[in-house]
Symmetry: C2
Subunit: 455 residues, 2 copies
C-alpha cells in the first residue's frame, strides 16, 4: 500500500456542505436552446410549464441568470441524512492497475434509493409540498427514480403515484416493494387507470409497456387533478441544477486536500448526474480560470452524443412534453435491451448537449460486456458492486489509468460512481453465466430514426 | 428541526480508527465456559481447534488473557475501504416520536455485503492467507455471511467455497450472484460433492436443506484438503473479538462529542454483532468504571436468551463442532420460518451467555410483524431500509424512546443497525401485502427440544 496523506474516503463536515446549488447556465456564454411548446413550436412560457411541473421547479427550469440558488433548509436537513457522499481515493484499484494515475470517485450510492436520484427527488417533493399540492406522479423504468421519489414523498407526507413499465414491474419486484414500503402506489403501465393506457391496451393487448407510455400515463393522471403535478428525474435543466450538489461537494473535498483533477468522467443517459458532477468545474473552464478534460460515457447501444444529431426533438415518446434541442437518436429510437436501464434514453440534457456541441466535453462509447467486466473487476478490487450505469464511468476511468501507465503520466482522474448494483443482479447473473451479448446499432437504424425528427 | 451541535452523522478520521481489537474476556472475572471436544467432552485444545480453523483464529478463540489484540495492517487497510461506519444521530426519528430521548445508531450496512459480517470475514481471510492456505469453506443461509466472505477472499485471492442452503440458493438468487461476482463457488446444499450430502440426499431425496447440513458439508470439504480450513461467521469468541471494532468506533465517536449512553441495544442471533457493539462498554462495567443498560433483542420465534437454558450444547445440528456452554433452545430446535434468517440460531455466543447469566444484559423478544412495522416506520422517517435482523433493535429502541416520552427522561439510546434489507424485499412484500404472520413456540415445543440436550 502506498504511503499517503489523503484518506481513503474524504467526508466533508456538515458545515462544509453546499448551501447553494450552482446553475451552470448562468456562466454559459451560449445558453442551451429554449424548450419549445410541442404544439405551437414557440418557446415555452413559465405559465405553460407550470401546468405540468411545480411552479418553483418551472421557474428553475427557465432560470439562466442566477448562478447560485439557495438550497432550502428543509432540503439541506434531508441531505444531511445521507450526504455528504464520500469522495473515495481508489488506492486499491491504482495499486492493482500499477498506474501512476491518482483515481478518485464520488460515490452516490450510500442511500436506500441506491443512486444520486435522491438529490433531485427530495427537492422536487419539497417544492410540491410547499406549493400545497397533495401529491405527484411519475414514471419509472428500472426503478431507481421511482424509489428515490417514494422516499422523498414519504418524508414530506406527499402522495406518490408511480407508473412502472409493466415488464419491470413484473421482473423487478424488489424495487417495486421498496417503493411500496415507502408508501408509494405503484401501477404497472399501461394501465386501465388512464385514457392513454386504455387506448394502448386496446391497440396492443398484452403489451409489457414502455417508458414513453408510462410518462404519458403519469402526465395524464397529474393533469386531471389540480392538486397533483408530474415530476421527472433526469434530462431537465432543473434536475441538473439539483445534481450540482455532487460536483460542489467533490470540488470542496478536492480543494481541501489541494488536489486538482485532470480528467472528470461520468456516465451519460439523460445526463443529469454528469451535468451535476461537472457543473462547478465546467464553470471554471467557461470563466477561463481552469482547464479540464470531461468525458461523457454512453452505451454503444444508445450513443446519443457520439452518433446522434444536435436538433430539436420530443423528449418523450408520447410527444406531450416540450421539445428540447439536444443530441438525440430520435424519440422513436428503441434502444436495444441493455441492463443499464438508466442510460437507455434517446436524448441528452440540453445543457450538456450545448457544451458537447462546443467541443467542451468528449464522448466515448463502451459495450455492455466490457462494462460488466469492468464492474466485476472494480467490485473485486474496491469492494463495491456498482450499478451497470455507473460501471460505464468505471470502464472509462480504468482505460485512462492504463493510458497513464503506458505514458508514465501521473494524471488525477475523478469519476462519478452514481449508484450500487444490488437490484441489478439479474444482469450480473447473465454476465456470470457468460450469456451476455453486445448490441451496436447500424448506421441505417440510426438514420432511419433520425429521419423522423420533427421539422 | 432541533438546534444541535452534534452532526447527523459522526465519521471518525482515519487516524481515530481502532488499531486493536478489544478482547472482552480478559476483563471478565468469570470467563465463558470452555469449548468441549464433542467426542471426549474434555476442553478442546489449540491443536484440536487447528484441525478445523486457521491456527491464528484458533489461538484467538482460546485467548482469554490479552485485552487488546493488534489488528494487522492489511486488515486495517481493508477496513479503510468501508469503515469507519457512521454513528448516526436519529434526529428525524426523535422528532417524529416527540421523545426527549437522544437516539444514535451505528450503521454497519454501507458496504456491498450489506452488514457487519465483513468485519470478521476479512480477518478470517487474512489469517487463512497468512497461513499459506489455498482457500476456505463455509456455509450460508440467508447469504450475508457468504457474501462478506466472498468479498474478503476475493481481496486476498483465496478460493472461497460456499455451501448455500438449497432453498435459499433457489429463492435468493441475487445474493448467490453477488457471491459469484466475487469469484466464490456456490453449491446448493445438500450436494453430491460430500459424503454427508450424499447420505442426506439418499435419506431425504428432494430436501431443500438446512444450515446444519450445510455446515457439515463445509467442514467435511475443508477436512479433506490440508490447504483449506472451515470458517464461521458468528457465535465464536474470535468473531466477537473482530466485531469489537463496532463498539470501539462507537465509543470513540460518542466520547468525541462528550456523549455517554444510558442504554445500548442490539439484535442477537449468534450474538457476534451485539458482543462487538457492547464489548468496550461492558468492559467499563466489569472494571467498575461505568454503568449502562444493555438489551439483547431476539425474535419471539427463536428466544434463546429469554426461554432457553444455560447449558452445554452442540453448536451445529451436525454435532461435529465443539460443544459450547450457552443459552440454547437445543441444537435440534427448528426455528419457525422467519425472515430474519440471521437470528434463526438455536444458541448464543458463550461470552454473551455468561454475561446474561450474571444479569448484566437484559433480554427482550419481539414478534415478526411488530419488527416489520418498526422497519417500515424507520425507513420512512430515517430514509434507510433496514435488514429484518437489524429491525429487532430498531423496535426495541423505539419502545425505549416512547418510554422516555412518557416519563420525560432525556436518556441517550444507542443501537446497532447491522445491515440493509435490500436483499430481503420478499419479506417486505409479505408485510406490504398484509400476509405476514407471527409464530411463538409453545412451552412444550421448547421443553421437548431442551430434553435432548447432551448430558
Amino acid at each position: 500500500m502506498k504511503e499517503n496523506k489523503i484518506p481513503y474516503k474524504i467526508y466533508l463536515e456538515e458545515g462544509e456542505m453546499p448551501k447553494y446549488w450552482y446553475n451552470l447556465r448562468a456562466d454559459m456564454p451560449i445558453k442551451p436552446a429554449p424548450l419549445l411548446n410541442p404544439i405551437t413550436k414557440e418557446p415555452v412560457t413559465l405559465k405553460e410549464l407550470e401546468q405540468i411541473f411545480c411552479s418553483e421547479l418551472a421557474a428553475q427550469e427557465l432560470n439562466e441568470t442566477d448562478a447560485y440558488i439557495e438550497i432550502p433548509q428543509e432540503i439541506r436537513d434531508f441531505y444531511k441524512m445521507y450526504r455528504p457522499s464520500p469522495l473515495v481515493r481508489a488506492y486499491c484499484l491504482e495499486e492493482k492497475l500499477q498506474t501512476p494515475a491518482k483515481i478518485y470517485y464520488k460515490f452516490e450510492g450510500n442511500n436506500t434509493s441506491g443512486s444520486h436520484k435522491l438529490n433531485s427527488a427530495i427537492a422536487q417533493a419539497y417544492y410540491a409540498k410547499k406549493q400545497g399540492l397533495k401529491g405527484v406522479t411519475t414514471e419509472t423504468g428500472a426503478g431507481q427514480w421511482g424509489t428515490a421519489l417514494s422516499m422523498a414523498c414519504s418524508y414530506f407526507d406527499l402522495d406518490c403515484k408511480v407508473f412502472m413499465v409493466k415488464c419491470s414491474y413484473e421482473q423487478k419486484p424488489f424495487r417495486r416493494e421498496v417503493m411500496r414500503t415507502y408508501g408509494a402506489s405503484v401501477t404497472p403501465s399501461p394501465s386501465m387507470e388512464t385514457e392513454v393506457g386504455k387506448q394502448i391496451l386496446k391497440e396492443h393487448p398484452g403489451t409489457t409497456g414502455s417508458l414513453g407510455c408510462a410518462i404519458s400515463e403519469a402526465v395524464e393522471t397529474a393533469s386531471k387533478n389540480s392538486d397533483y403535478r408530474y415530476v421527472l428525474g433526469s434530462v431537465m435543466s432543473m434536475v441538473s441544477l439539483h445534481q450540482s450538489v455532487i460536483g460542489l461537494e467533490t470540488k470542496t473535498a478536492l480543494e481541501k486536500y489541494g488536489v486538482t483533477p485532470d480528467i472528470i468522467i461520468g456516465c451519460a443517459g439523460g445526463g443529469s448526474n454528469l451535468a451535476g458532477l461537472v457543473a462547478p468545474f465546467m464553470g471554471e473552464v467557461l470563466r477561463g480560470e481552469k482547464n479540464y478534460r470531461f468525458i461523457a460515457v454512453e452505451p454503444a447501444s444508445c450513443p446519443s452524443f457520439t452518433r446522434g444529431k444536435y436538433a430539436y426533438d420530443y423528449s418523450d415518446t408520447g410527444r406531450i412534453c416540450p421539445l428540447s434541442k439536444m443530441y438525440t437518436l430520435g424519440s422513436g429510437y428503441m434502444p436495444a435491451s441493455t441492463h443499464a436501464g438508466g442510460l437507455r434514453y434517446h436524448g441528452m440534457s440540453s445543457i450538456l448537449s450545448e457544451l458537447y456541441n462546443e467541443g467542451l466535453i468528449e464522448g466515448k462509447t463502451v459495450t455492455q460486456t466490457e462494462v460488466f467486466a469492468a464492474a466485476q473487476q472494480f467490485a473485486r478490487i474496491e469492494g463495491l458492486l456498482p450499478a451497470p450505469e455507473s460501471a460505464h464511468a468505471i470502464k472509462a476511468a480504468i482505460d485512462e489509468a492504463i493510458k497513464c501507465k503506458e505514458t508514465g503520466e501521473e494524471k488525477t482522474i475523478v469519476f462519478g460512481l452514481t449508484g450500487t448494483g444490488y437490484f441489478d443482479m439479474y444482469a450480473y447473473q447473465k454476465f456470470n453465466d457468460g450469456v451476455m451479448s453486445d448490441y451496436i446499432p447500424t448506421d441505417e437504424e440510426i438514420n432511419q430514426s433520425l429521419s423522423k425528427l420533427p421539422q
